[in-house]
């Protein structure tokens, strides 16, 4: 728009980029899963670890909607209760990763020099480490509980956030408004927290949903190998693992349904993540 007089120029409108549909679809999925998790006791007549002594490996039917597993536990009920653990661990571990990784990235990116070099080399080492070994050792070190799983998955993810934050801070440092802030007489701390951090945080938060999906897959994978949540606690990966042997025998429902729940939940996170990326113009 050619401006005749810059003082009568109307406020520019924010450019919309789409992605709203994806975010809405993802949110809907996650709301349903969340509702299932919260309302689990009311949505199912069986408890998550309650054993029906007369129904082992029963196919889906009126008594047990999605059937029972080899222990006689109701799969529908277990899927609902598992959502609590899977959602909780995912969100908590990603929050931890953002916090730890973000802080490291912010500090090293702003400091620069040898501090930055050293930290990045250390992160290289951590990232060259096979993920499962790292998760398992952390979990085994601190005892096999939900808290340690959160810690393990969070710490594995932290280097990625540290790198992202550092890259973001470095690119922001080249913006003139950072130089302008220095000229305006801001102290280093003030530049860091008033001018760099608020602008650098957005990309980290944008990829957080994608990461939540990844964290759930990680948790489920660990449990699948018997290294995560201990049986008989209801967790999707552990449920798939329990049912894996039955699949070859044709009893598909024991692992197919928990897997579906896992897939749909991760898809929900990924839809939101993709939508956010589109909306912020990082992907079309």
């Amino acid at each position: 728009m050619a401006v005749v007089d810059d003082l009568t120029h109307p406020p520019a409108k924010r450019v919309r980029r789409g992605g709203d549909g994806l975010i809405a679809a993802g949110s809907l999925i996650l709301l349903i899963v969340l509702f299932g998790a919260v309302a689990a006791p009311w949505l199912s007549q069986w408890g998550p670890t309650e054993i029906d002594p007369i129904a082992f490996l029963e196919p889906p039917g009126p008594g047990h909607w999605l059937g029972t597993d080899g222990n006689g536990m109701d799969i529908w009920s277990r899927i609902l209760f598992a959502a609590r653990i899977d959602l909780g661990v995912a969100v908590a571990s990603v929050a931890l990763a953002v916090l730890v990784g973000g802080t490291i990235g912010l500090a090293t990116g702003y400091a620069g020099g040898w501090v930055e070099e050293t930290t990045m080399r250390l992160l290289d080492i951590v990232q060259a480490f096979p993920v499962f070994i790292l998760a398992l050792t952390v979990a085994a070190l601190l005892g096999n509980s939900l808290h340690t799983l959160i810690l393990a998955i969070g710490l594995i993810n932290a280097p990625a956030y540290a790198r992202l934050m550092r890259a973001e801070v470095r690119s922001l440092k080249s913006h003139i408004y950072i130089e302008a802030a220095e000229c305006a007489g801001n102290s280093r701390l003030s530049i860091l927290f008033r001018h760099l951090l608020p602008n650098a945080l957005t990309p980290l938060l944008v990829i957080a949903p994608l990461n939540c999906g990844w964290a759930i897959l990680m948790l489920a994978g660990l449990s699948f190998l018997g290294l995560g949540v201990a049986v008989p606690t209801a967790e999707w990966g552990a449920m798939i693992s329990t049912g894996a042997a039955d699949v070859v025998g044709g009893r598909w429902w024991t692992s197919v349904f928990p897997g579906l729940a896992l897939f749909i939940t991760v898809l929900g996170f990924n839809l939101i993540g993709e939508g956010l990326l589109q909306r912020t113009g990082q992907r079309r």
């Binding site: 060259a128 993920v131 699948f224 190998l225 990966g237 898809l267």
Partner: protein, 336 residues
């Protein structure tokens, strides 16, 4: 030679990473609860027997001394003996590595072809139905747990349709293939045993498909995004506005520029595949590196875990080196 110097410099950089990784592994697994010696000695063992076993593996010495001894052995090419099976680790490693590599190399190759062709195709039809289909498929593929996908594929192709062999082993037990390279598809071909070759491929089908489906998703999205960026760039638009022939435009102005950013991501995917192959190996009873490491970890078999981490880390760094060289070859702006 600048290239040689660059490669040597990068390989030298490998040393601190490997030392860091080995120290970290060494310390981490030794502070783990659980004592490997207790797992191997008979239940009737006395305190003295246990002490003796400990000395045999050098586990009675201080941690630093143990590490230096280990480092010295590794430099001489000796990766130690497994505590649980008492066989040389290096020997087990040479048997296991080809199994896993065969799996992930085929999966990677398949995924790359699908991703490049599909990604460029989708980008050239951005916004149309075929593009949307590709994007939804990529999103779904990215959300699939590979161990569950493997089970579902077994359910469909083995259980229901009977097209695939049972998920156990890498070749039908009717064939016996003496290992030459360790890569079974190569070995059967070298021996000219076509039916065995076919059987090996048949057994590879489902695990490779599982891995390929999961890793195609991020690669496809990346290729599509790069291709879109090129198509929207002034340099491509300029070439188009000068009326170049479609083939020239596609190969010289779109294809190569799209591929510039692929090596780095592919290296990341490939590296993670080696460290994360255990899930699919577990589902298909594939006796590869991942299963070996998992067992080593559960039994606290220190030399096995150390060797595994070292191999994976080396592989990781080498793959990234190759990726950087490829990128430099594709992009004249990148200096090596």
């Amino acid at each position: 030679m600048r290239l040689t110097r660059y490669i040597v410099r990068r390989l030298l950089l490998l040393i601190p990473v490997l030392i860091g990784v080995s120290v970290l592994t060494f310390v981490l697994i030794r502070v783990l609860p659980g004592d490997p010696v207790l797992l191997i000695v008979p239940e009737t063992a006395t305190e003295a027997d246990i002490q003796q076993a400990r000395e045999r593996f050098g586990l009675d010495r201080p941690l630093a001394a143990q590490y230096l001894a280990y480092l010295g052995d590794v430099l001489r090419g000796d990766l130690g003996r497994s505590i649980t099976t008492n066989t040389p680790v290096a020997e087990q490693l040479t048997r296991r590595v080809p199994l896993t590599l065969e799996l992930i190399v085929y999966a990677m190759g398949l995924a790359l072809v699908i991703a490049v062709v599909g990604g460029i195709y989708a980008a050239r039809r951005a916004g149309r139905p075929s593009d949307h289909t590709a994007r939804v498929a990529a999103l779904a593929g990215n959300s699939l747990p590979e161990f569950w996908l493997g089970l579902v594929l077994v359910l469909i192709f083995y259980q229901a349709l009977g097209w695939a062999p049972p998920p156990a082993g890498r070749i039908s037990p009717l064939f016996s293939v003496p290992p030459i390279t360790g890569f079974i598809t190569v070995d059967t071909l070298l021996q000219g045993d076509l039916p065995a070759s076919f059987s090996a491929l048949h057994h590879l089908m489902l695990p490779v498909l599982t891995l390929a489906i999961v890793i195609t998703a991020p690669l496809l999205r990346s290729v599509r995004a790069s291709a879109l960026e090129v198509i929207d760039s002034d340099s491509y638009r300029c070439a188009e506005s000068h009326g170049l022939k479609d083939r020239v435009l596609l190969f010289a102005y779109l294809f190569r520029l799209t591929l510039i950013r692929l090596p780095t991501l592919a290296a990341l995917v490939f590296g993670n595949l080696l460290g994360g192959s255990v899930l699919v190996e577990y589902v298909f009873s594939w006796q590869g590196l991942g299963q070996w490491a998992l067992r080593g970890l559960l039994l606290r078999d220190y030399p096995v875990i150390q060797a595994y981490v070292l191999v994976v880390a080396t592989f990781y760094v080498l793959v990234f080196l190759i990726a950087d060289l490829l990128q430099a070859a594709l992009d004249p702006r990148v200096e090596v």
